[in-house]
């Protein structure tokens, strides 16, 4: 039997059209929207509305009504404007805006191919268009370290995803691990926090895969040596790339939500050959030239090819998983 006070709170939470915070007897908290209840449990949707949770009634110590009550809000709006109508000039989409696509920005053709596989589309002229989880997705390969501004202005996306490969800085990361950025750090030290609804929704979708959440640091050029990576790791970042900070900054300034999903190619203790510092459409010739340096270089190249394949497959899998989160991550209105 649950106590009468909790039973009353449960009744109210079930009727409430907003998020509630359940405090468990062990002190932990769960935030969600209560949509169903059974004799001995509550069912909730998490704040991104993508993950379902079941909480036994016996574990609930208290319920706080922490989110805005949408029903009360609607009532207040109606009372305020009673007798007056919205203008006929109100946009036909109402508050929702005409949804732009999800824009996935990558730097390299190799990354574009990995995204293309997730979208079941082939790259053409540096672009792949397709659908993920019912969302229109446009992917552009804009080159290493390039300004994302023009792409955002052209596509007016509802969500931007900075996607591609990265270098591991945390010793625990191995090739093929996914990194979902909680924040991105500029080479100059400024930090941008990733918008939470998009990130939480993405995190819920990535569960079960090898992925970590943490900070990504920006490098001005490819961090190829172990020493370069060690220096960057001092910031506390999990991984390094060249584009995500600029994408996050540009999107934030445009008021567009953004996400960063990267796959580790080279772990912290694994150096990259010098030829990878330069962006190319095709690395075949430089790679062959590098392999001719000797057996050690050839072996390093074989290992690197394997790491690229692992990262590429992880990126494809991770993006496919993200599909439903791309809806939830729409930040507008």
């Amino acid at each position: 039997m649950i106590e009468a006070r909790i039973a009353q709170l449960v009744d109210r939470a079930f009727d409430y059209r907003g998020y509630v915070t359940l405090r468990r007897s062990d002190g932990s908290e769960v935030v969600g929207f209560v949509y169903d209840r059974g004799a001995s449990h509550l069912e909730l949707l998490d704040q991104s509305a993508t993950r379902r949770m079941r909480v036994p009634l016996a574990e609930i110590a208290d319920i706080a009504f922490t989110g805005e009550d949408a029903a009360r809000k609607s009532q207040e709006i109606w009372e305020r404007r009673q007798g007056t109508l919205e203008s006929s000039e109100t946009p036909a989409h109402g508050d929702w805006g005409e949804a732009g696509p999800v824009l996935v920005l990558v730097a390299l053709e190799q990354e574009l191919r990995a995204v293309g596989r997730a979208l079941d589309g082939a790259p053409r002229a540096g672009k792949v268009r397709g659908r993920l989880g019912g969302n229109d997705v446009v992917t552009l390969a804009s080159g290493m370290g390039k300004d994302p501004g023009p792409a955002l202005a052209e596509w007016q996306p509802r969500l931007v995803v900075s996607c591609g490969f990265c270098g591991g800085l945390d010793p625990g990361l191995i090739a093929g691990d996914l990194v979902l950025a909680t924040a991105v750090r500029a080479a100059s030290g400024e930090v941008l926090t990733a918008p939470e609804p998009a990130r939480l929704a993405a995190a819920a979708m990535l569960e079960g895969l090898r992925y970590r959440q943490g900070e990504l640091v920006q490098a001005a050029s490819v961090a190829a040596t172990v020493d370069e990576k060690r220096a960057l790791a001092r910031s506390g970042a999990l991984a390094v790339d060249m584009e995500s900070y600029a994408v996050g900054l540009e999107a934030a300034e445009a008021g567009i939500p953004w996400l960063v999903l990267r796959a580790v190619v080279d772990p912290a203790d694994s150096p990259l050959p010098e030829f990878t510092r330069e962006a190319r459409r095709d690395y075949t010739w430089p790679a062959l030239k590098y392999a001719l340096k000797g057996p050690r270089a050839a072996a390093r190249l074989v290992r690197l090819a394997r790491e690229f394949r692992l990262a590429s497959d992880a990126l494809t899998t991770g993006l496919r998983r993200l599909g439903p989160a791309l809806d939830a991550a729409e930040a507008r209105p």
Binding site: D15, F33, D36, A71, S87, G134
Partner: protein
């Protein structure tokens, strides 16, 4: 009556099959709510009051098809929210039409004209345009100026392109029967295939709680409105249901007749009440305590409800259970009298 013969035959075959199989409870219309977000905030609507993260969610095409397959009802009413805000609504409609479901896509028509290119006309697809009465009444009901005119223009465009179009009218306290009769004339002159009417349900979460019709008042209003119906009027509804609205017949609610599916699951017990969700259609049908609902149950939330989602299935069922009721249905369809 305006319902096409092929649709009537499909429904008749389906109901007979259920009866022959000895099924006590079976669905007639799947109420599919692929999303809750809307581009209007109507005074009597209690469907869209959710946090924005939930309003941003929608069912995928595959979810919608799976729900229809699981339910098996021959008709699907796509409601919401405003379905035309769904990025893949045309694909949802196409997939259901391919399964030979009779689809009623309910819309306020604000986006209809610009979205028509995405749809293909079919006898299985009908746009059911929300029209709560003449211009002033409708714009007041949806709380926005000009919506009636936009909807009329969209209806004309849809009809010109060969689409089936019906209207769906919800009535509240204060409706003027004479003006409503002229509104029915206007809609039929526009060329819609048929009209649907129903009193509004007193949603607890609707902003305006003062204008929901009580049962006796509904009887009076519908009697005044539908008494001596004009030959030109066509209703896309069972004549027995219209007689029920007029107080000439009494039915008990059939809440399982129009089961509702949305992002939370299968809504218990009906389209209007939210007493939780079942994970599967079977669970909804088998584990819902149906005796707790309907007028006879004494449930206060059911006492004034006369909404079509609960009583239209009762009317259809009654027609198949009694030769007399079937005779009355046929007679009304032939003579146009109620």
């Amino acid at each position: 009556m305006a319902i096409p013969a092929s649709q009537m035959l499909t429904v008749a075959r389906y109901v007979m099959k259920q009866r022959l199989a000895g099924r006590e409870r079976y669905p007639l219309v799947l109420m599919l709510e692929p999303l809750f977000r809307c581009n209007l905030s109507c005074t009597g609507c209690g469907k869209i009051q959710y946090p924005s993260s939930i309003l941003k969610r929608h069912l995928s095409v595959a979810d919608c098809v799976a729900a229809s397959d699981e339910c098996g009802a021959p008709m699907v009413s796509i409601a919401g929210g405003e379905p035309l805000l769904h990025p893949e609504i045309a694909a949802v409609a196409r997939a259901l039409v391919e399964r030979r479901r009779y689809v009623y896509l309910c819309t306020n028509a604000l986006l209809l004209e610009r979205k028509l290119d995405e749809f293909e006309p079919s006898k299985f697809l009908s746009f059911s345009v929300h029209m709560d009465g003449p211009r002033a009444e409708h714009d007041h009901s949806v709380s926005r100026e000009g919506v009636y005119d936009v909807a009329v223009k969209a209806i004309r465009a849809a009809l010109a392109r060969g689409f089936r179009v019906t209207t769906n009218t919800t009535l509240f306290e204060g409706s003027n029967p004479e003006r409503m009769r002229r509104f029915f004339d206007d809609m039929m002159e526009l060329g819609v295939e048929g009209m649907m009417v129903s009193p509004g349900y007193s949603y607890e979460k609707a902003p305006d709680q003062e204008h929901f019709l009580r049962r006796e008042r509904s009887h009076r209003l519908f009697s005044q409105m539908l008494g001596e119906p004009k030959k030109s009027w066509s209703f896309n509804q069972s004549p027995l249901f219209l007689q029920f609205l007029m107080g000439k017949r009494d039915f008990e609610c059939t809440p399982w007749g129009n089961p509702t599916y949305n992002i939370f699951g299968w809504q218990r017990p009906c389209y209007l009440l939210q007493d939780g969700y079942a994970k599967t259609f079977r669970e909804l049908m088998e584990e819902t305590e149906w005796s707790r609902y309907g007028r006879k149950s004494g449930n206060p939330r059911c006492q004034d409800c006369m909404v079509h989602c609960g009583f239209e299935p009762s009317a259809v069922r009654a027609a198949f259970e009694s030769p007399r009721a079937m005779g009355a249905t046929v007679a009304s369809m032939v003579t146009g009298r109620l």
